[in-house]
């Protein structure tokens, strides 16, 4: 998991090593953020479309020369590219994400409004995915070869299902046919069910596959045998020993899960007409809203860096072997 620790020479004190390790992580994180900002800055200019037009109400808006010039001057788009890049880096370093072209308000404010709904959606989806994956793993480990095959099949299918298709099917069945749940997501509990399950199902498929493998391995291991020898029941072994093992790969996959949830949020928030980061990212890219795209991308990258670091720390704490490797 943590490659930087392998490069760190054995330190005289554990504390010093940890501080150095954290510093390395921090530098790595800053590098990632810089790389993301740079890639977005140049990448978005490679695709056709004039940001000044985006400011003027969309492409092909027949904006006059004066209007376009005014917009360019106001947002500094008339400067040479390298000047714009330098200025953006300076602003970012000072924590200033700029003003959204399309929403005409500070990106920080926009993100502040959009983070909570996406966070609620993503954390609920992660929770539901975990519960489903664990339930499936326990069920299939306990119930023999046939159950295991069925569970494995379910996992592969749900892991392979694209979000847009799943969302449409869920809306068709639970909104149009049964009328149980609203197709449009609001912050009511009922409005959250379909989007959460759309995000959770494919993720549960992935997590379930990994967890079940680890769990079955644990069931066959020496410590399970010795527990059995001590007279521990199979359920006891499963809950007290194997489950903890199964959870470990799940924890280390959480960084990847975050990425999957964020990309899924783009689709899910659009289909269920739910406010959030994903939907804004989509409209911001279409509108060539460079500050907002940069803001969302940087926030996602920062979240990714933080989660990876935290999961590394948790792993180091949980498993002393990692430190010595």
């Amino acid at each position: 998991m943590s490659t930087s620790t392998a490069l760190t020479p054995r330190a005289p004190s554990l504390l010093g090593a940890s501080v150095r390790w954290l510093l390395g992580k921090l530098m790595g994180g800053i590098f990632v953020l810089w790389a993301v900002a740079t890639a977005i800055f140049f990448g978005i200019r490679m695709i056709p479309g004039d940001p000044a037009e985006a400011i003027m109400g969309g492409p092909g808006s027949q904006a006059s020369a004066e209007a376009l010039a005014a917009a360019r001057a106001h947002y500094g788009l008339d400067q040479p590219l390298i000047v714009q890049y330098g200025r953006q880096l300076k602003q970012l370093a000072l924590g200033d994400l700029g003003t959204s072209y399309s929403l005409k308000s500070p990106v920080v404010e926009v993100l502040g409004e959009l983070v909570p709904p996406t966070l609620i959606l993503a954390s609920l989806a992660l929770l539901v995915a975990w519960m489903m994956a664990l339930a499936l793993a326990v069920f299939s480990t306990r119930s023999g070869v046939l159950a295991s095959a069925v569970a494995s099949g379910l996992e592969i299918v749900s892991a392979a299902v694209p979000h847009f298709w799943l969302a449409s099917v869920l809306i068709m069945v639970f909104s149009s046919m049964l009328g149980w749940l609203p197709p449009v997501s609001t912050n009511t509990a009922a409005g959250l069910v379909l989007p959460v399950f759309t995000l959770a199902l494919p993720l549960a498929g992935f997590l379930g596959q990994v967890m079940r493998d680890t769990m079955m391995e644990a069931q066959r291991s020496a410590f399970a045998l010795s527990a059995r020898a001590r007279g521990e029941s199979e359920t006891g072994i499963l809950l007290r020993h194997s489950l903890r093992h199964a959870a470990l790969p799940g924890i280390s996959l959480s960084g990847w899960a975050l990425g999957s949830l964020l990309s899924g949020a783009v689709v899910v928030e659009s289909i269920f007409a739910r406010p959030g980061l994903g939907r804004s990212l989509l409209s911001a890219v279409t509108a060539r809203d460079i500050p907002l795209v940069t803001g969302v991308a940087l926030l996602s990258a920062a979240a990714y860096v933080v989660i990876m670091t935290v999961s590394d720390i948790v792993e180091r704490l949980a498993d002393p072997r990692i430190k010595q490797s």
Partner: protein
């Protein structure tokens, strides 16, 4: 634009209209229609209408800024215009009372209605209208549609409290039509003095509703204007609107939008897709409002500036090589009527000629042979001087709905039989404009909404081949014809209604017979709504619905 009236008032004209429609249906394009049930009953005051829009959420609720259709849709609820159109498509004054023009056509005087206030208490007067025009013409406002509409105004003076005098650079007989567009709507001058950010969030108008709040990506919340006293001439009632409030939501996904209507979560949806309309018309609880947009028809333009379409024979051959009618029938489920005009069927001066556009592969082959495209390559495509007859067709996925994209694919298939290759590139809007700016297209389809036939000048005058600073130009067929230019210029400035009609007819004949375009259908503008919502059907001059007369039954 139809204002729904109680049945008793409406019966006689409706019967006459029906008879006329039956007689004329073979040759007259469809106008906006709405199915009113006989038991609409007595209007009830109260309730919140939830409207779900499929368009992108505007970044600014003031249609002066930028100026696109999604802005017009929502702004029609809280802003009003100087002029509008009645149910028969006739231009009528709204916030204006009257307007006169000098003999030379260079001075226009607009009389403003008395006794009207904006919802912030500011009075409507000539100075207020002047402030609006100045706001539109100020580059800092970043208006594009409204700016273009007022382009011929040289200066203006508020002669007295209720009279605004406009000096024009050249005569412009489309000015009152321009005044009927929501992009030139009149806002409170007091509110316009705020920062653009504040005004974008909550523009202040004279409409039947006003903005209470705007939660981005969720909804614009509108509440009734209790002080509303003076509806448009064709409204069915006086005083404030029946509805307490309108929640204007944005639901980009077409299937979700329709599911929300079915489940009763929303009462009106726009951008209804052909399959949903077909299903809804079989559903007793859902109703359909078909309100084609004014301006240009939806059409494919043939780029005459480069090979192969610089040869008129090839343009004619292409038109006969594609089977459009069969595709429209099968993909639009009868919801779209074929057009044979460059103008929308709601434009009174639209001229159609269906004899020019029949599917006739034999004729196409003959024309291609005559044009020198005699040989075929190994894939069966025609070649001339070693070049394949290949057409690049950039398609904007945000402007062409899935059904329209499928029409293009079917055209691709039928054209292949005639040895014509069509390369369809599906693009996002910015990339699509990029291709147009680089002249990297042979075929293109672009909507254009504007009130009145002057849209023809925008689309076919050679001036419109000169790109704007952004690279944008509207004359996509790139027709440059001095005779056509002269027709369009005179048609746009004459004071004589009959001459105007005659000149615009000649101009339309010229572009149709020159095969610069392949008309498809009117710019589709379909709304589906719950039968609980009564008295729907009133629209502005740009076919955006008005809910002043609408009410919710229990």
């Amino acid at each position: 634009m139809t204002y729904a009236r109680p049945l008793a008032h409406k019966l006689v004209p409706a019967a006459a209209a029906l008879a006329a429609a039956l007689v004329l249906s073979a040759c007259t394009p469809a106008t906006s229609t709405t199915e009113n049930s006989a038991d609409d009953g007595t209007p009830v005051t109260g309730g919140t209408l939830v409207y779900a829009s499929g368009d992108a959420e505007p970044s600014c609720l003031d249609p002066h800024v930028g100026g696109n259709y999604p802005q017009a849709l929502v702004a029609s609820q809280y802003l009003e215009t100087l002029y509008t159109k009645d149910a028969e498509g006739k231009l009528i004054p709204w916030l204006a009372e009257d307007s006169t023009v000098s003999e030379d056509g260079l001075t226009r005087s607009v009389k403003i209605r008395d006794g009207i206030s904006f919802t912030d208490g500011t009075a409507l007067d000539a100075a207020a209208v002047k402030a609006n025009f100045e706001h539109l013409l100020d580059p800092n406002t970043a208006s594009s549609t409204g700016y273009l509409a007022l382009g011929k105004i040289a200066s203006m003076t508020a002669v007295d409290a209720r009279t605004l005098e406009l000096k024009l650079k050249t005569p412009d007989n489309s000015l009152l039509e321009s005044f009927s567009m929501p992009w030139v709507a009149i806002e409170s001058p007091t509110a316009l003095k705020r920062s653009q950010e504040e005004n974008c969030a909550a523009p202040v108008g004279t409409g039947a509703f006003k903005i209470a709040s705007w939660k981005k990506q969720e909804a614009v919340n509108l509440v009734r204007n209790e002080g509303y006293v003076r509806p448009v001439a064709s409204s069915t009632h006086e005083g404030p609107a029946y509805l307490d409030a309108i929640t204007w939501r944005f639901i980009p996904d077409a299937a979700t939008r329709y599911a929300a209507l079915q489940s009763g979560e929303v009462q009106v949806i726009d951008n209804a897709q052909p399959d949903a309309i077909a299903t809804a018309t079989k559903t007793a609880t859902l109703k359909h409002l078909d309100a084609p947009r004014p301006g240009a028809s939806n059409r494919i333009e043939l780029n005459s500036s480069k090979a192969p379409f610089n040869d008129p024979k090839t343009r004619e051959a292409f038109v006969h090589a594609v089977n459009v009618n069969a595709s429209i029938d099968s993909l639009f489920f009868g919801t779209a009527k074929r057009s044979y005009s460059p103008l929308s069927s709601v434009e009174p001066l639209a001229y159609s000629d269906d004899s020019l556009f029949d599917y006739d592969p034999a004729k196409a082959a003959e024309l291609l042979d005559a044009a020198g495209w005699t040989e075929r390559d190994t894939e069966g495509y025609r070649i001339k001087d070693g070049q394949r007859f290949s057409l690049t067709f950039p398609v904007s996925t945000s402007q062409s709905i899935p059904a329209e994209q499928s029409i293009f694919e079917q055209m691709q298939a039928t054209a292949k039989d005639s040895g014509i290759e069509i390369k369809i590139n599906l693009l996002d809007l910015s990339s699509w404009y990029g291709d147009l700016a680089k002249n990297n297209y042979n075929l293109v389809s672009a909507p254009y909404t504007k009130v009145g036939p002057s849209v023809l000048s925008i689309l076919f005058h050679s001036d419109s081949t000169i790109p704007a600073p952004s690279g944008y130009f509207a004359n996509h067929s790139q027709v440059k014809n001095p005779a056509l230019d002269a027709l369009l210029t005179t048609a746009g400035s004459t004071k004589d209604e009959a001459e105007r009609k005659d000149l615009y007819t000649k101009a339309q004949k010229l572009v149709l017979e020159g095969y610069y375009l392949l008309p498809l259908y009117d710019q589709q503008n379909h709304f589906l709504y719950s039968d609980k919502l009564k008295n729907v059907g009133a629209t502005t001059a740009v076919a955006s619905p008005l809910f002043f007369d609408a009410w919710l039954s229990n």
